[in-house]
């Protein structure tokens, strides 16, 4: 039942139009064209007796047409519900549309730059604020040890520590193996294959072990923290906690950050072991160096200092990851999109800060001669 809409001028009086057919959203393309063509003419009245269907879209187009001329055109012949609908639409969209601001492209770029810089400052502020809140919560716990949420902390430790062991071990094992293989391949030309053990040992213990693990934890657990805390923020769970007189930082964030601070050094230790194991395996299978020789060389090459340099960084990296995750989680707004944005921001910022921190530690250790 296709009922094409038509708008024709009367033969005796061209200022009176007759509308026929279905004026509804299904025919909106045709209607818009009809109205555009008619809009330039001077219209006194539009006869709607032969309209077979009318909805809000059709009624609004007729109303717009009627308003268009110097004097308002009359809409005649509509009955029953159509009349009511036209009457309703007649009162709508009366407000003048607000002045649209014209924007200079250069000014907008500068505006964005300014906003970006200010966000950087406010981000650092929020980060320091969270560090302070966390320290205050920690002091509170030290003063009243019974208020410490042990169950929650242990549960989080299981999630970010225990459950992460297999994937961390696998990835660091592969990294160690790759470093050893590349080392053997290139050192062979100088006949210096045995120095691969020094390279793998020092690199893994000082840098790679802890760095890879920290980046993995930022992606695996930092994002989970942000999403969890953000979802709680969205559903007003955080507000509910505060109104019960509980500090959300002490209840939700302290156990999570503490769990990270405990778990990351352990994971870094296990990761370093796995990387050394991977390196040793490749040295044996690919480089033909027997495990006994590998272990003996490793014993000569690395000292406890190398291990200390690596592992000391782990809790600080964990703290940074936890703080960023908490700050981003708490800045989630109402929408699902915002949750996604903050989770992305959390992972990107924490990985960036972990690498910056690693650089600062390198400078520090170099200057104290470790």
């Amino acid at each position: 039942m296709f009922n094409a809409p038509v708008l024709t001028a009367n033969e005796d009086d061209p200022r009176v139009l007759t509308a026929c057919g279905a004026w509804n959203v299904a025919n909106v393309e045709m209607l818009e064209r009809l109205c555009e063509r008619a809009a330039s003419a001077d219209i006194a009245a539009i006869d709607l007796r032969r309209v077979t269907a009318l909805d809000t879209v059709g009624a609004w187009l007729l109303e717009r047409l009627a308003r268009g001329g110097r004097t308002r055109a009359a809409l005649t012949g509509a009955e029953g519900p159509y009349g009511d609908l036209l009457e309703e639409v007649r009162g709508l969209n009366r407000a003048e549309p607000g002045e649209r601001k014209s924007v200079n492209a250069l000014l907008e770029k500068l505006d964005q730059l300014g906003r970006g810089s200010r966000r950087l400052v406010s981000d650092s502020g929020a980060f320091l604020h969270m560090l302070g809140a966390l320290s205050a919560a920690l002091l509170g716990v030290l003063r009243h040890p019974r208020s410490f949420r042990l169950t929650s902390t242990v549960y989080q430790l299981g999630r970010v520590g225990w459950q992460a062991v297999p994937i961390m071990a696998l990835i660091t094992f592969l990294i160690g193996a790759i470093i050893a293989q590349q080392g053997i391949f290139h050192f062979r030309r100088f006949g210096a294959e045995s120095y691969v053990v020094d390279m793998v040992g020092i690199l893994v213990l000082r840098e790679i072990g802890v760095l890879i693990v920290a980046i993995m934890v930022a992606g695996r657990s930092g994002s989970a923290y942000t999403a969890e805390i953000g979802a709680m923020k969205m559903r007003e769970e955080i507000d509910a906690l505060s109104t019960m007189g509980l500090d959300p930082v002490a209840v939700l964030i302290l156990p999570r950050v503490l769990a990270l601070v405990v778990a990351l050094p352990i994971l870094a230790f296990l990761g370093s072991l796995a990387a050394l194991y991977g390196g040793g395996l490749i040295a044996w299978l690919y480089g033909g160096m027997s495990p006994a020789i590998f272990i003996a060389r490793l014993h000569e090459a690395v000292s406890v200092t190398h291990f200390e340099v690596g592992i000391i960084k782990a809790p600080f990296m964990a703290l940074v990851i936890g703080l960023v995750a908490a700050v981003e989680g708490l800045s989630v707004k109402g929408s699902a999109e915002s949750l996604g944005q903050q989770t992305t921001a959390s992972v990107v910022k924490s990985i960036f800060l972990v690498i910056v921190l690693d650089g600062l530690f390198a400078v520090f250790f170099a200057s104290i001669g470790m």
């Binding site: 909106v28 609004w60 187009l61 519900p81 969209n93």
Partner: protein, 245 residues
């Protein structure tokens, strides 16, 4: 067309696991009426509505829509929590069904969205707000504007006045009444609001034990002998509103 049937439900059975929620339910919704559905919490009101709109599978029975098919804009659904798309502004939410189902010029799209927002008592400025910035009542209004975007012939309302204060609820009832008079749609409304039932429903259906135990104008439902209906309309809360005395 008055008096003809819009939705024809026969022997509808819906259940989850080994639990049967709706047990051989029969109901007719007439063209152009406002039908209010009442029932106990957890009694299957929302299940019935969700089955009608195709969100839940039925185990047996028949649902016939006269002249309405899904996906062509002939249904509008107002969810209990609004279910607005949180990444879009109020205006974009209203425009969404229009944009997906018809080819409107951007100018007309804006004008229609503003017109719909004004119809439900909001202003053009409210259109720029995101759902998280809207109050409960405004969310319901925007959701109603979105449900009405394509001028549906059939409107499903899930507890439209829940969470609103009595004044806002009364305004919302009046709004549905007015829009119903102008746009002439059929309304299937799940509600707990005794005032709404009295003020805007042409007929009331009572759902208990998985079937419709009473249906008709409010006055005839009030006379039903079913124990649940008696408890519902003749309980203390209903008495204070002047029901069933």
């Amino acid at each position: 067309m008055a008096g003809s049937t819009a939705i024809h439900i026969r022997n509808l059975v819906v259940g989850f696991g080994n639990k049967t929620i709706l047990n051989h339910l029969n109901l007719d919704v007439k063209q152009g009426e406002i039908l209010g559905l009442v029932g106990a919490s957890g009694g299957g009101k929302s299940v019935l509505m969700r089955t009608l709109v195709g969100l839940l599978p039925k185990r047996g029975g028949q649902i016939d829509f006269v002249d309405h098919r899904k996906g062509e804009g002939s249904w509008g659904i107002l969810f209990q929590q609004g279910a607005l798309f949180s990444a879009l502004t109020a205006r974009q939410n209203v425009q969404f069904p229009l944009r997906e189902n018809a080819h409107l010029s951007p100018r007309l799209l804006d004008e229609i969205a503003d017109a719909k927002l004004e119809m439900v008592g909001l202003t053009s400025a409210d259109g720029d707000k995101f759902p998280s910035e809207l109050s409960g009542g405004m969310t319901k209004r925007v959701a109603l504007a979105r449900a009405l975007a394509l001028d549906p012939a059939l409107l499903f309302l899930d507890e439209p006045t829940s969470g609103l204060d009595p004044i806002a609820a009364g305004e919302f009832d009046a709004l549905i009444r007015t829009l119903h008079r102008t746009l002439r749609f059929t309304v299937f409304m799940v509600t707990h609001d005794l005032n709404s039932l009295q003020a805007i429903c042409d007929r009331v259906a009572a759902l208990a034990d998985g079937r419709i135990v009473a249906v008709g104008p409010l006055s005839s439902v009030l006379e039903s002998d079913h124990p649940w209906v008696k408890a519902y309309f003749h309980g203390a809360r209903a008495q204070t509103l002047g029901f069933g005395t």
